[in-house]
């Protein structure tokens, strides 16, 4: 438990130090990331010795917050911590020329803490809170270069899309807590088994965070952020939060619910897989691929094997982070992420290219790299599931697409020739990249024990294994040869835009919302006019007194200033403990004011003052009458 606490406290301490000292932010951030890593390792060791715990603290009356520590949280925490540490190392090099490092590392540390919170949360309120906080971190980091064109819109879009979907999580949590009477995750899930509506609401939230169709557009735009951000938030960890949510709430899902999860995952695999195939931009291609791979995890959950989804989540974190970190080096080398301008960059930076290619091949599912081990259980699960006839072919198509877009990217980066020039911060970047890339290469054999550790069985099946491998190779060949490019040519343009409808979210969400807002505003203005004219008519208020009111106020204010006795007298008598005196005092004071005002020939405000004060007098009269 203490080890897990370190995972949250480490980056928070780093954040505090960075903000307080405003210098050497990278040192603090790295220190924080190291503490997290140490804590996560400690947590894993403890969990492997059978340790599990739950810590309740603070929170609201009857609804304490809880941190949870068990084998699942330990694995997830370590995954997040490892990628975060390597990305932080990489970022030292990547952000070398950036003047505002303080803000960058502060926001990254903030994210690291919040993400650990999502992973370690043992109750819905803390989970929801950290879920929203990683959304804030995403907003801030996508918007890091907020002066560049398109960046502010991308940040706004990311936050609003995910928050829109988050409404599902809000309502689901209200329902879970209301029916179970506790916000503890395990208990409330058990108390709501089979609740289709709650399941759908949770799925909605997961779709937003994990950029599933139709919410996948924000992730593409998010690529305008710095590349370490893309690697850590928008591939390895934050977007995986949706899948983590589904894994944790999987016991709640009934059969139709599982079908819904699988259907969304399958649709996303196809749509974003084709999108990736047609992307003219390396980072946007990787973003589409992320959505697609998260779709694989959804299929795993939908096929009834959340463990398979978990294993792919862990492997994907390493593979996709490596791809992004490689892309970031290419980006710095040629000041671009567009394939057309990156031609031959692989030849110019062979070491980077090899590390990039290893991760790419792993993602495609080439044995013995990590992706082979992590995708196979998903295929096997789809084969075993009652929906197999529909899910297994889908998974195969997904594999084909993955192979194709990975090979296409490798080809575009390798062919042609580019000038090699020194890249500042290369050493740091290489260390980070090599770390994640080696994980993507060698992690595979560790995945089966991981599943056992969490207490689940990893489905495996020789025929699905062989079919999967064959499909992946086929995809790689098709992508390398350019066959898929020709095949996809007719739909290249809509695919490159992520198959969005019209002007995308602007048309679907922003314009209708603004139109509704303007209609409400017009209604409000007419309400205002009505109430003003009603007031005028009702009180016989001509424009004359209204215009003179200013002069009146001016003089009244002066009167308060110059004739202090009035106030002093009033307040002194206020202390005389005598109700009759008080009321009389009020009336007299008001009359006095009224005298002045009448002399000014504007009786309006005084009348109202008189009315206000005599209100109190009316109470007395009526009260006495009633006795």
């Amino acid at each position: 438990m203490i080890a897990s606490l370190l995972a949250i406290i480490g980056p928070l301490a780093a954040l505090t130090l960075i903000v307080a000292c405003r210098r050497t932010p990278a040192v603090f951030a790295l220190g924080g990331a190291l503490v997290v890593f140490g804590g996560a390792v400690g947590g894993l060791i403890d969990a492997s010795a059978g340790g599990h715990a739950s810590l309740a603290f603070a929170g609201m009356p009857d609804l304490p917050l809880r941190l949870q520590h068990d084998s699942l949280t330990a694995i997830l925490s370590l995954t997040v911590a490892t990628v975060a540490l390597l990305v932080f190392v990489y970022a030292v090099g990547y952000m070398q020329a950036e003047p505002d490092k303080v803000r960058f590392f502060a926001e990254m540390s903030f994210f690291a803490a919040a993400m650990q919170g999502v992973v370690l949360a043992g109750d819905w309120i803390l989970l929801l809170a950290c879920w929203e906080l990683i959304g804030l971190a995403s907003y801030l980091l996508i918007g890091f270069w907020y002066e560049r064109p398109l960046v502010p819109v991308a940040a706004t879009r990311a936050f609003l899309t995910t928050r829109g979907a988050d409404l599902g999580l809000y309502v689901a949590v209200f329902a879970l807590v209301s029916t179970a009477g506790t916000s503890e995750v395990g208990q409330s899930v058990a108390a709501n088994t089979g609740q289709f509506a709650i399941g759908m609401l949770l799925l909605l939230a997961a779709m937003g965070k994990s950029a599933q169709v139709p919410f996948h557009g924000w992730l593409q735009d998010a690529m305008l952020g710095p590349t370490p951000v893309s690697a850590l938030l928008h591939s390895a960890t934050l977007v995986a939060a949706g899948v983590i949510l589904l894994i944790r709430s999987a016991p709640l899902f009934s059969a139709p619910m599982l079908t819904a999860v699988a259907a969304i995952g399958g649709l996303t695999i196809l749509v974003t897989g084709v999108t990736a195939l047609a992307q003219p931009d390396l980072k946007r291609m990787l973003a589409a691929s992320t959505s697609s791979q998260l779709g694989f995890m959804l299929i795993g959950v939908g096929a009834g094997s959340p463990i398979a989804a978990l294993v792919h989540l862990v492997a994907h974190a390493a593979m996709k982070a490596a791809l992004f970190l490689g892309a970031g080096i290419f980006q710095h080398a040629l000041d671009s992420t567009v394939f057309a301008e990156l031609r031959g960059v692989g030849r110019a930076y062979p070491r980077v290219f090899i590390l990039f290619a290893l991760a790419g091949l792993a993602l495609a599912g080439v044995p013995p790299l990590a992706g082979f081990w992590s995708k196979d259980p998903i295929e096997a699960a789809t084969m075993e599931s009652p929906l197999g006839a529909f899910l297994f072919p889908l998974a195969l198509v997904g594999l084909l697409l993955t192979g194709a877009y990975v090979a296409r990217a490798l080809r575009l980066l390798w062919q042609g020739s580019a000038q090699r020039r020194p890249v500042p911060g290369m050493a740091w970047m290489l260390v980070g990249l090599a770390g994640v890339s080696l994980l993507a290469t060698f992690l595979g054999p560790a995945l089966v024990p991981t599943a056992q550790f969490v207490g689940g069985r990893l489905p495996t099946n020789v025929s699905s294994q062989l079919l999967g491998f064959g499909t992946a190779v086929l995809g790689l060949l098709a992508g390398w040869s350019g066959f898929t490019d020709r095949l996809a040519a007719p739909i290249a343009s809509p695919a490159a835009r992520g198959f969005r409808v019209g002007d995308g979210w602007i048309d679907v969400a922003v314009r209708p919302a603004l139109a509704l807002a303007r209609a409400a505003d017009r209604l409000d203005l007419s309400l205002y006019d009505t109430s003003v004219s009603a007031g005028r008519i009702g009180l016989g208020l001509a424009t004359g007194p209204l215009a003179r009111a200013d002069a009146l106020v001016e003089r009244l204010v002066l009167a308060v200033g110059s004739d202090g006795l009035l106030l002093a007298r009033a307040s002194r008598r206020f202390d005389e403990v005598d109700l009759d005196g008080l009321i009389g005092q009020l009336v007299r004071a008001t009359q006095l004011l009224g005298e002045r005002v009448r002399r000014l020939q504007t009786g309006f405000v005084s009348r109202e003052l008189l009315l206000a004060a005599s209100g109190a007098a009316v109470i007395l009269v009526l009260a006495l009458a009633a006795r």
């Binding site: 609201m60 706004t156 809000y170 106020v553 001016e554 200033g561």
Partner: protein
Amino acid sequence: MPLLSLTVFVPLLGAVLLVLLRPSNARAAHRLGLAAACLSLLGAVGVGLRGVGPGFSQVEEIDWIPSLGSAYRVGVDGISLPLFLLTTVLFLVSLVFSTRVTDRTPAYVAFFLMLETTCLGAFVALDLVLFYVFFELTLVAMYFIIAGWGHEDRQRAALLFFLYTLLGSLPILLGIIALYLGADPHTFDMRQMVASPPLAGFAGALTFVAFLLGFGIKTPVFPLHTWLPAAHVEAPTAGSVVLAGVLLKLGTYGFVRFILQMTPEAFRAAAPWVATLASFSALYGAFVALAQTDLKRLVAYTSVNHMGYVVLAVAAAAATTEPRVRAVAIDGAVLQMVSHGVVTGALFLLVGALQDRAGTREMGAFGGLLRGMPLLGWAFIVAAFASLGLPGLAHFPAEFQIFLGTFGVWPLAAAITVIGILVTAGLYLRAIQITFLGEVGERWRALPDLGRADLWAVMPLLAMALMIGVAPGSLLNVIHRTASSLGP
């Protein structure tokens, strides 16, 4: 020591001193005002440290006319104590922010101090007559502040404010008389009204309607809110802070103290209708705010949104028979009042600071301000995220409990109203994007960032927003003591 009464009347004493001494220079007047507001804050903290038990605590009572059942009675419980504290904080920061005012300073400060006494008095009054007197007098002081130190179209706005809320207090007066007549023996003692609500049946229903109208205007609830944006737009910055932060709370406080506690039967019968209205009001306020381009109007309309949530939760508390659900809803409603005061106060201060520097509040005129004024920009971003209900900041625990409580009674109402948090997110992100992000225009390059007085006013509020967001427990425990003992 009658700490409660001292806290209430210290500001008035300051006002009287100002009027008597008539300090010639502005600084002396400000100092006197700050001293009075500080003392009042200290007193409120003392009251807070003394704490509340079940029922009303720290009651101070002086008999006036025992035969009439009226007396000077003040006291606090878990509902009024947080608002009492909030009031002293907001008045102090308002006066800190106002230290730039040089126009008729003694009168300006005196009006604020008078307003503080009346607001504090209204929250702690335990006698209906006393409450009504304080409640009415808030109107007068606020009227003079808007009309005397407001912006261009201030007379119209001040008049509208005055008339509207005066109109609202007449039904409250009628309701008070009805309660008095219904009580047996006749009394103005609010504790008795709360302990055993005197009115049932038709009389109770009429009283309920009267209170609903009166406090609905003050809160404000659609369609009675039209005075609010007008008053805010014309009010001076500190006036807006107090108006939104404290005066609106008199309305929501009335919803809990009067409508819920004194006419519970009628409220329960009408709760679905009130909830529908509140839910509509919340969404309506959010959407109208989304259409605004004037930053101050935008913040003003979000008040309609946030107060809609409060009324929704109070209606849910009235409807439910489950003590647990009622407690959650009231916890959320009262915490929301405090959170809204703190966060909206900060937002109004920041918009005011921006207007002082740039001479406009139209967000279309701005762009990229974050580069040149990072303090103002980041403070606004933090406050905006607090206002849109981000966890870790003040509104999240409040709104979470409001929706959780409402969900326990009307799941659909909660599910629909929660859309409001998406709309508020949209409107604040839009405002941030247009005003602070992007490239800075030539015109705004040289704008100075927040000064010392601004920081002293804004930062305490942001710190409080963070504290309430991270550790709402200490405040909620106070509220919960009363909320969990509310009878059915």
